[in-house]
């Protein structure tokens, strides 16, 4: 009988945890679940919270976001996006994006302020340049 489990926690960006462990306690959809080796194969939702890992006699705590766990006799794979309060963050990002869109629409087909600045700068430089050219030409003729 295997006496350890392979615990893997993966996010879309990276694998944040990958170790052989003795026991895992995770916040399942039906409450806390302690998983030992040789557990029945189980797929469960995982709620945002803390996973408690027993490894080599010590306890480790890993914070995870909402996700899923695939549990078999010898491994646990947890799929999460690792953000406990993602809803708030997303809300803020959405608000900001909406505001930006409105602003852009108000400006309509016009160019935005920063673009206007860049354009003015380019124009001034162009004028300076052509003035310099004219001067140079005059000097040559004169």
């Amino acid at each position: 009988m295997a006496d350890t489990l392979k615990l893997e926690i993966v996010t879309p960006e990276t694998t944040i945890y990958s170790e052989d462990v003795e026991m895992v306690t995770l916040p399942g959809s039906e409450g806390e679940a302690g998983i030992y080796p040789n557990h029945v194969p189980l797929m469960t939702r995982v709620q945002a919270g803390e996973i408690i890992v027993n490894r080599g006699g010590t306890e480790e705590v890993v914070a995870i976001g909402e996700g899923f766990a695939e549990i078999t006799g010898d491994h646990i794979a947890i799929l999460t996006d690792n953000a406990a309060n993602s809803a708030d963050i997303d809300e803020a990002a959405a608000e900001e994006a909406k505001a930006k869109a409105e602003q852009r629409l108000e400006e309509g087909g016009d160019i935005s302020e920063e673009e206007a600045k860049a354009l003015t700068k380019a124009l001034t430089q162009a004028t300076l340049y052509s003035q310099a050219q004219i001067k140079a030409k005059r000097r040559k003729r004169g």
Partner: protein, 294 residues
């Protein structure tokens, strides 16, 4: 007729331009690599998601979820993934042309990711709902925010269909504008991480072990679908970034080559002119000597 000094000055300035463009080329190359790496880093997640999907799809039986129900309405949302900056060849204009021809109607709400798309949308008067920004190596949170907005529009029945338009990374030399349907989900395919080549739908495997499901196979699948969409959007953002930087790399390489050609031509002209000036001077000296007369 420009003087030798004018030409020399031009050579110096073109050389500087070449330096800048070649530096930009190298930066783009590095950033493209980073976007590819980030996409590949999602592989364990993709594999696990495919495993879970495979299991739940085989066990969920006849499964019905709002995300999978096609509604007849003609209100659409389009997530438009473009770049923030220019100097990256024609990928933005290609994408916008494709989208304007085929996808944007009066009933389309545009969710822009990237400044170029938002600018275009406001210029031509599309219904711009949101203007998201994302960084050079897009993080998952950025993708999730975009996906969540689209999902909310769909859930509240404000739109009946969500598409996403982006530039697909074929290889370093070619990128293709593409539009994919995000919602409703017609068929659950395996997700893939990585940006190289044509996307192949990876097979869903399932049924290796008899799994228990908590709360139920259907429940797990229902909760999985939003993650599935988030992940797709994230991979698409990475793909778009890889396209942007590879296109920029090629554009900057061409610019550097052009500048170098120009330097060659100008140097040739400069040398000719210098030679002509020397010949002239010699001529003057000899003729002056002749005029002084022996």
């Amino acid at each position: 007729m420009p003087s030798t000094r004018d030409i020399r000055r031009r050579i110096v300035s073109v050389k500087k331009t070449a330096q800048i463009t070649s530096a930009m080329e190298k930066v783009a190359q590095a950033k493209m690599g980073r976007a590819q790496q980030a996409a590949i880093a999602g592989r364990p997640y993709a594999e696990l998601m495919n495993r879970v999907l495979g299991e739940v799809v085989t066990h969920a039986g006849d499964f019905d979820h709002p995300f999978m129900k096609a509604r007849g309405g003609e209100n659409r949302a389009l997530i438009l993934v473009t770049t923030d900056k220019g100097m990256c060849g024609s990928i933005n204009s290609n994408l916008l042309r494709k989208v304007s021809d085929e996808f944007v109607t009066d009933h389309t709400r545009v969710i822009a990711a990237g400044r170029k798309g938002a600018q275009h949308a406001s210029r031509v008067g599309w219904d711009l709902t949101a203007d998201f920004s994302y960084s050079d190596t897009p993080v998952f949170a950025e993708a999730r925010a975009i996906a969540r907005m689209a999902v909310e529009l769909f859930e509240n029945a404000e739109v009946d269909h969500v598409d996403i338009a982006f530039t697909n990374f074929i290889n370093t030399l070619s990128q293709k504008p593409e539009v994919q349907t995000l919602l409703p989900i017609t068929e659950i395919k395996g997700v893939q991480a990585g940006v190289e080549g044509e996307e192949m739908a990876s097979e869903l495997s399932g049924g290796t072990a008899e799994f228990l499901f908590e709360p139920s196979a259907g429940g797990v699948l229902g909760a999985l679908l939003p993650h599935y969409i988030n992940f797709q959007v994230h991979q698409i953002l990475l793909e778009a970034k890889a396209s942007e930087f590879s296109s920029k790399m090629v554009a900057m390489k061409n610019a550097t080559d052009n500048a170098n050609d120009l330097i060659k031509d100008l140097t040739l002209e400069f040398n000719k002119m210098r030679q002509a000036a020397i010949t002239n001077e010699l001529l003057e000296i000899t003729s002056a000597q002749m005029a002084l007369g022996n």
